[in-house]
Each structure stands twice: as structure tokens, then as C-alpha cells.
Symmetry: C2
Subunit: 556 residues, 2 copies
């Protein structure tokens, strides 16, 4: 079979107005970016407020492995499948980050016959949303140092400035810098650093905001640092929130593109799935629910992180109520969860599949705790044997859940008809009884503990006095009602990335907590997290270029 | 009269396809960005190669003063005037930089009834060109530190890395930083810093490149630093040129917008006018020459810098031959050149005008030395008295040049009919006999001296042994054929910004020289230059926001 980029290029894209018309978006509500991308006018979307909502379907996965699970690919394949069986369906994806494209090979627009296009554009500058976030973030950064330079009226403690700078680039040299060097005219030297743009709190804010007013309010709430008396200084105190909103005005409008099968796809926002909630924008999801009968969306990493945050942060805060969950697994990934090494995957190994299903089983149980019905999608790889696939089905049946083989990678929507039928009937069944895991009113530390015990199945959390004090202080300052955003390795239910399957008996160390007052959550950092990646020894960038026909080579 | 933004908003913009059709661009050669902006497809533009060129008209000005001269405004007004008298004319402007919008108030899209629109878009993210340049620049930066991190096979001397990073933001805290701090996994600490994106060599390259192949070649030629033996390391050595070209593929295509009178305007590229050549892109100018009978373009700062570089760098390298020059002056600016303070401008002062005309006169002489016919445009301010305007006309007549009053700011194209008639007949006269000031073969130091003596009217240049040695070394390395790009204050013919008028008897100190091997020039730094501005004590950003109707307030 051809590689992803060849399939994408062979696709016939339809004019974006035609894609929009499939879900009744009038042409004048589309702001074109080229012929096959558009933003959807925000004022048109506000006019839809009174329409009823379609069904919301979350695609999530088992813990990721080097073998790949195909969450985005399955989201695209399911969306196409729903359209194939006559349903009006839209998918909602996250925008890929530019920086990592130049590190390891590979974009983030699905794969095989289940992709969104134009693939190169989506993976590169797209409609400029990430650039706008970079600009808004760094404007605030510049205004902070400028405020200190001109007299520091707000009495910021230069040692307690928490707002850093961002670039959409993998650049480890910027993780930790000393800035304002070079003399009086350059300011007061201090330690700081850069994160990658997807890790910006502004990215999380853009994805959680309801509208432009809410966006500006949240931007104003950002805490940029503290005074010597530890009182907080916000972006609003610096009068930066208005200009930041202006910079984000266009970026806040959802992007419309299409799948290889010319079905509508919303691709909007892409917050980090560890220090943020890892879901596409609320504005795009809500718009899609007004425009389609079925909306399929995804959440970053495995269900222990992605689905948990989708439920406890995005759905809670946006008032969304999911109707069904699709849990994606591959035979290969289950084998790795069952203890097999990557280079032993080629051989059939039914016992390893069954052993690995323990990971799948725990995610099923977890999702059920949120009250949402779940179906398992087996994302088919050509090397999977019938016996291996049967083992997954048998395991799921024994756990009261249906597992459906889906071959969208090779066959497009033809390969997801059965999955689409089942998902539609689950979503229509009215059996969802969604509720977040914990109440807003629960103390912050108890929220963290609930996630650790109920989702990660830890015996306890380990949290030292300083962190406890910090949480208590935020509660006293009025932030106790916020949900917690867990930052933990995606590879395991525990904080040890090597512990696959369904481990028990562990403790979750909460090393640090951070307040994202604009986004509206408390980040609980459990283990190492990386907010600025580096490039590998041979970056993909060295292989990227234009071929003789002006086509992009080496990007995917 | 209404303020600029009110006039701009009251304008009725036409669909961009209609604007393109005025110069016979087929709709399918336009890549829309919204309804009133488009990029012009590069492959369409290559198809025009065999068409004859229109006439090229440069708009330049006397030395800038706090009173304002209105070069961009006059470029727009003249373009509209040419269209008004039945000529097929296009204007070519530079794109404004985002960063400064948040510092001092004011965009850069003309003024009064002579503006390009959509003004907010042009001043903010526009079509993403500057963001693409920022990305390409910082990708190269990341690849440099990454190369050292993974073993430094090219043996770069960390103390001799000349390539910095860029952001499109006024942020003095980034002028000088120490990066790669924080331990082994973050690399080797070293001194570096950030410039504003318009100061990037990539901006200069984009504006001088003929096509994508030439762009990639120039990107590859960029010298990023030196080894201990002082041999140069290029972007090509790091294999970064292909990926950088991919990032700039869209940005390399000219942008089409419209004037308030719905005439076509190309707005593309915006290199710094001190450490770069300060003109819009060669690709846009050449495209415009194929599509229109008259092309009006501008060059940054006064004619001593802007026109000199337009002639000696842009025209020389791109094989352009200008047909006429419009030298813009205002009565107010002439009064300041005549020794009057800004707060004394209100009163009529004919002697001051006449005295200030010495500055104008010298620019006239200079332009004539390039063999191009010149006309003076008096950009009318409402407070100018008839006697003051008459004084300028009298002075010009005595110097064999016509001076024409233009009231485009108040009246649009009605106010530039006479100017347009005169410019068209000058351009059509065939009297232009353009030649650059010096030969490629002249030694670098002599090129600098020629500009200093012939254009700045200095007695000599002061250049120390180290700088002489550097120039000799570059000549030995094969860079002796390059033109020189002078970096000097724009406020005076001398290197002292307070010396207005037409000073003589000065010396030009050449403090430092830099090689822009990708752009293809040697920068001679004569005095202080600033490549990263700062914000003022009350940044314009604090006043910028959305009003109740979602319109942008405070940006202009």
C-alpha cells in the first residue's frame, strides 16, 4: 500500500464551500484560507445557539506504546463510516504542532485511507492559529519585563515571575536562559526560559473559552508572577488582555477541512495533553454539535489521561455530555502491554494479546465509572492474525463490552461500517448517564487522590508539606473549585513508564503543583514532564525539502 | 476629517478576485486569505516571464523628521492617481511588522484617503509571511545548538556563532541572553540573543530572491558561524536549507490587497532599512511590472539610505531599471530641517522652509547621479500656507526640478492627478539612464567610501585596522563582488542624528562590518543600530482591545 503522503496527494479535494454545505454552513460564513481550508465565522456560529445538539462521541485509547494505536486515524475512519451509513457526522481533531515535524518524522493528520487533508498545510502553518498564540504569549512576556524596566509599579518580584516565553520549535537550548543581559538599556537580568507553543496556557485557554468575551476574561486571569508578599499579579494588571485578545481574534474561529472521503472535519486547538487537557477546542466541539447529528472527537494520550481530562475538565467546564466512547486498541499494542518486545511483534502470540487485554479492561472499567457506554475498536494491522483478533473479542465479551474490528487504514469508511452502526446506536440509546468523577467542592488534594485511586488504581498519593501548603493557599485564594489537570507519563497507569498492563499497589508522587488561573485548572505534576522538546541527532528537517515539482519531500 | 481607521472602515472593499481582474490575474491564480486578501500563485507568475515590463517608479523622501513625510501615503496616492488618469498601475509596498504595533501607536498602511486595506489585517498577522520567516529563522537556530549538542561534527566554535534568534515583538529583554543553561540535557551554555523578525537575514533573502530555487540557494549560503580556524559554516552545511524553504514556500508568493479606491496593491516583504535594504520583495516588484504599465514602489527611510540601497542593491541585483523617482517632502518636515522645533511648526515660516530645502536639494542631486529623472511631491498638510508651498516650488524650479502639490491625504486620487500626469510622462520619456553608483569589481572599502563621499558628502570614512582586515578577508573568500548595505541613522546625511539640513565636512566612522552571504551584501555599520526595539513606558498594547462590536480599538 502507498504511504500516507501518496494517498493524501492522490485524493481529490473538494472546494471548502462544498464541504461546508454538507453541514449547511452558508458560503458567506466561511473565511477561506486557500481553496481547501476555511475558518468558520464566529458570528455565524453564535447564531446557532438555539439549535439542538447532536451526539458527542469520544475516541480514546489504551496506554500508548511504540507500536501505535491510531486514535486520530480511528477518529477519521469512524467519522467517514458514520457518513457512509447515512449519518450527518463531523469529526473534531486537534491541530498538529509545527516544531515536532522537524524532529522525528511524522505529521498528525491520521494515516492510510483515514486522513484529513490538505495534510502538508495542516502540519505546517495551517491557518496561523499557533503563530497567533505564540505572538499573544510573547507579547505578555515582553510587557512583563517592560513593566519592570520602566519602574515596576506593580512591585513584581523578579524571582517569582512564572510566565515564560514560547516558540513552536523543538529547541532545548531555550529551556533555561538568563535574559535582559547586556546593560542598563536591556533591563534587569533574570532566569527564565521558553516552552513549546502547545504548552502555553494560552493554548489551553483558547481551547476552553466559550467565546471572545470568555477568552479575554481568561487571558486577564492569567497569573504571570508574584510580589514579595506572594500576592499574584495577573495579565489584567498589566493591561495586556485586550491586545492579546485582538491577536487571537481570528485564531479563536474553528478551522474546517475535509477527510480523504470529502467529509467535514474541524481541526482546532492543540493543547499539551500533560500540563493541559489535551482536547480540541470547546468552540469547535460546540459548533460541530450544532451542525451535525454525530460529533466524533479525540483526547490526547491513553484514556487514563485523555478521557479523564476530557470528562473532568473539558466536559465539566463546557457543560458537554458525551453519549458514547470508542476505546481504540491494536493487537500489536496489546502484545506490548502483554510483555512482548517491539521486535517480537511479527509472530502470532495469542497469550500475550490476552495478557495485554488487562490494560484494555481497566480502561473499560474506568470509562464506565463516568457513566458513558463504551465500545472497543480494534484498529486492524495487516499482520494481525484471526486468532489474535478473536482473543481481544473474547476478552471484551467477558467484560460486557463489544469489540469491533475496523479496517479504515486499508479500506477507509468501508472498514468502519460495523463500528459506525454500533456507535450510532449506542449514542442514540440514551443510556449515557455522564457525571464527572468528583465534585467542584471537593478539596484539591482529594481531587488528586480520587483520580490516583479510582483511575490509576494507586494505593495512595505521596505529597509533601510544601505542596499541601500551596494547595491550601490556593483554596484560601478562591481557586479551590478548580478541577485538577494531572501531568503523568502516558505509558503506564503508574508514574513509571515501564510498568505496562494493569499494575496495582503503587503510590503516585505529586512532586509539584501549578495554578493555571486563566485556563481554570490546577496542574498536578506526577513525574518528569517536558515542556520544550529537543531535536534528535539527525533531525527530520535535514531530509525535508521541495522536490523538482515544488512538492514537499520528507515531511511525512 | 475622520481618523485613518474610521476612513478605512468606511471604505467599501471589493472581492479580491475583482481587484485581481483589474490587472488580468485569473481567479484561479489567486489563493484567497479571507475575502479581501490573496496570495498570487507562484507558478502563474512564472508564466508571465515573456511579457514586457511596465515602468518602475520609486517613491522616496527627504530625511525623516518627527513631523512625518508620508512616503507610503504618497505611494498609495500616486498609484490611485495613475489609475484615475486611466493608467494601469500597481503599487508595491512593504508589509508592516507586528511587534511595533504594540509599542508606539500607528500602523503602516498609508493614511487619510490614501490607504491600503484591510488595514487591521495588514498590520497584524496578515497572510502569515512574517510568522513563516520567524519559524524558518528559529529552525536554523535550533539546528545549530542541536548540532553542537549531538557532537559538533562541523566543529563550530561556540564563541563564533553569529546566527541569533528572532521574534516579531519589541522585547528588549531578549537582546542579550545566555542560553542552554540548566544542565547536560539542555546543551552547552553560550551567549546569544534575539532580533526582531524584520531584521532577520531571511527577510532580506526573501525580498531579494528571484524564485524558490534562488531562495533555497541563498538560504543555504547563510553563514551561521565560524570554526576555530575562522572558516565559515553555512546553513547548507547543517542541511537546514530544504526545510527552511518548505517553511517559506507560501510566504514567497506576493500578497494582493487593495487601496481605498479599490486599486490593486502588492504588499510583500519588509526588511529593515538599516541592516538590510528596506524594499519590498523583488518577486512582487517583478510580478507587478509584468501585470501593470506603471509600478509605484517605496524604499525605507530617506533617499540617502532608501533610494541608495534601492538602486545599488535591489535594482543592481534584480536587474531592475527605474524610470522615474518621486521625492516626497512636507512643508513641516522641511521647516524642521530648516532648524525649527516641532512645537513651533504651527506658525508660517517661509525662511525656515527655504533653509530646509537644502536637505531636499541634496537628495535631488543624489538621485540625478543615478541617472533617473526626479519630481518632487509636496505632501500637503492642511496647515501649510500658500507662501510656504510656493517657497518649495521656487527652490525646486531653481534646481531644475518640478515640485507638485499633492493632496491625496485629504482628497484621495483627486489630489494626485497632476502628480500622476507628470510622473507618467517622466517615466514614459525614456530619459532614464540608470546606473548603480559603483562597479561590482570595486574593492569593498572603496564602495563604502563612494557612498559616504558621493551620497553623504563626507570628507572621508574612518575605518580601523580590524575592520579593514575583515573586508580584505571576505574579498579573499570570494565576497568582494557584493554591494555594501549601509547602516546609518536615517535622520541625517551624517552619522549624527541631530545634524539636519545638508551638513558637510563630516567623517563617517565604520564601526563594524557584517557579511550577509545569503542576502548577498556586506553591512557597514556606521553608528548605533538597533535590531530589537523595546516597548515604551505605556505600550500601545495597553489601549488595544475589542470594542462592543468586535472591532479592534486602539490599534491605530
Amino acid at each position: 500500500m502507498a504511504i500516507d503522503i501518496e494517498i493524501a496527494r492522490a485524493a481529490t479535494m473538494r472546494p471548502i464551500a462544498e464541504i461546508g454545505s454538507k453541514i449547511d454552513i452558508p458560503e458567506d460564513a466561511l473565511i477561506p484560507f486557500g481553496r481547501t481550508k476555511a475558518k468558520i465565522d464566529g458570528s455565524y456560529l453564535s447564531s446557532l445557539d438555539d439549535k439542538p445538539d447532536g451526539k458527542l462521541i469520544l475516541v480514546t485509547a489504551i496506554n500508548p506504546t511504540p507500536a501505535g494505536e491510531g486514535k486520530t486515524t480511528t477518529t477519521v475512519g469512524l467519522g467517514d463510516g458514520l457518513n457512509r451509513i447515512g449519518k450527518k457526522a463531523v469529526i473534531c481533531l486537534r491541530e498538529p504542532s509545527l516544531g515536532p515535524c522537524f524532529g522525528m518524522k511524522g505529521g498528525a493528520a491520521g494515516g492510510g485511507k483515514a486522513q484529513v487533508v490538505p495534510m502538508e498545510d495542516i502540519n505546517l502553518h495551517f491557518t496561523g492559529d499557533f503563530h497567533a498564540i505564540t505572538s499573544a504569549h510573547n507579547l505578555l512576556s515582553a510587557m512583563i519585563d517592560n513593566h519592570i524596566y520602566w519602574g515596576n509599579e506593580l512591585q513584581l518580584d523578579q524571582r517569582r515571575i512564572t510566565w515564560r516565553r514560547v516558540l513552536d520549535m523543538n529547541d532545548r537550548a531555550l529551556r533555561s536562559v538568563v535574559c535582559s543581559l547586556g546593560g542598563v538599556s536591556n533591563g534587569f537580568p533574570r532566569e527564565s526560559g521558553f516552552d513549546i507553543t502547545v504548552a502555553s496556557e494560552i493554548m489551553a485557554i483558547l481551547c476552553l473559552a466559550k467565546d471572545l468575551d470568555d477568552l479575554q476574561k481568561r487571558l486577564g486571569n492569567i497569573i504571570i508572577g508574584y510580589r514579595r508578599d506572594k500576592t499574584a499579579v495577573t495579565a489584567r494588571d498589566l493591561e495586556a488582555d485586550g491586545a492579546m485578545t485582538v491577536l487571537l481574534k481570528e485564531a479563536a474561529q474553528p478551522n474546517l477541512v475535509q477527510t480523504l472521503e470529502n467529509n467535514p472535519a474541524f481541526v482546532h486547538g492543540g493543547p499539551f495533553a500533560n500540563i493541559a487537557h489535551g482536547c480540541n477546542s470547546v468552540m469547535a466541539t460546540k459548533a460541530a454539535l450544532k451542525l451535525a447529528d454525530y460529533v466524533v472527537t479525540e483526547a490526547g494520550f491513553g484514556a487514563d489521561l485523555g478521557a479523564e481530562k476530557f470528562f473532568n475538565i473539558k466536559c465539566r467546564k463546557a457543560g458537554l455530555s458525551p453519549d458514547a466512547v470508542v476505546l481504540v486498541a491494536t493487537v500489536r499494542a496489546l502484545k506490548i502491554n502483554g510483555g512482548i518486545a517491539k521486535d517480537e511483534l511479527a509472530a502470532e502470540n495469542v497469550p500475550a494479546v490476552t495478557k495485554g487485554c488487562e490494560n484494555l479492561g481497566r480502561h473499560i472499567e474506568n470509562i464506565k465509572q463516568f457513566g458513558v457506554p463504551v465500545v472497543v475498536a480494534i484498529n486492524h494491522f495487516t499482520a494481525d492474525t484471526d486468532a489474535e483478533v478473536a482473543a481481544v473479542k473474547t476478552y471484551c465479551e467477558a467484560h460486557g463490552v463489544e469489540a469491533i474490528l475496523a479496517t479504515h487504514w486499508a479500506n477507509g469508511s468501508k472498514g468502519t461500517e460495523a463500528l459506525a452502526q454500533r456507535v450510532a446506536s449506542l449514542a442514540d440509546s440514551g443510556t449515557s448517564n455522564f457525571a464527572p468523577l468528583y465534585d467542584d467542592a471537593l478539596p484539591l488534594i482529594d481531587k488528586i487522590e480520587q483520580v490516583a485511586k479510582i483511575i490509576y488504581r494507586a494505593d495512595n498519593i505521596a505529597i509533601d508539606k510544601g505542596v499541601r501548603y500551596q494547595l491550601a493557599r490556593w483554596e484560601a485564594d478562591g481557586f479551590g473549585h478548580l478541577p485538577v489537570c494531572m501531568a503523568k507519563t502516558q505509558y503506564s497507569f503508574t508514574t513509571d513508564p515501564t510498568l505496562r498492563g494493569a499494575p496495582t499497589g503503587h503510590s503516585v508522587p505529586v512532586r509539584e503543583v501549578r495554578l493555571s488561573a486563566g485556563a481554570g485548572f490546577i496542574v498536578a505534576i506526577c513525574g518528569e514532564i517536558m515542556t520544550m522538546p529537543g531535536l534528535p541527532s539527525v533531525p527530520a528537517a535535514t531530509q525535508i525539502g521541495l522536490d523538482g515539482n515544488g512538492q514537499i519531500d520528507g515531511l511525512f
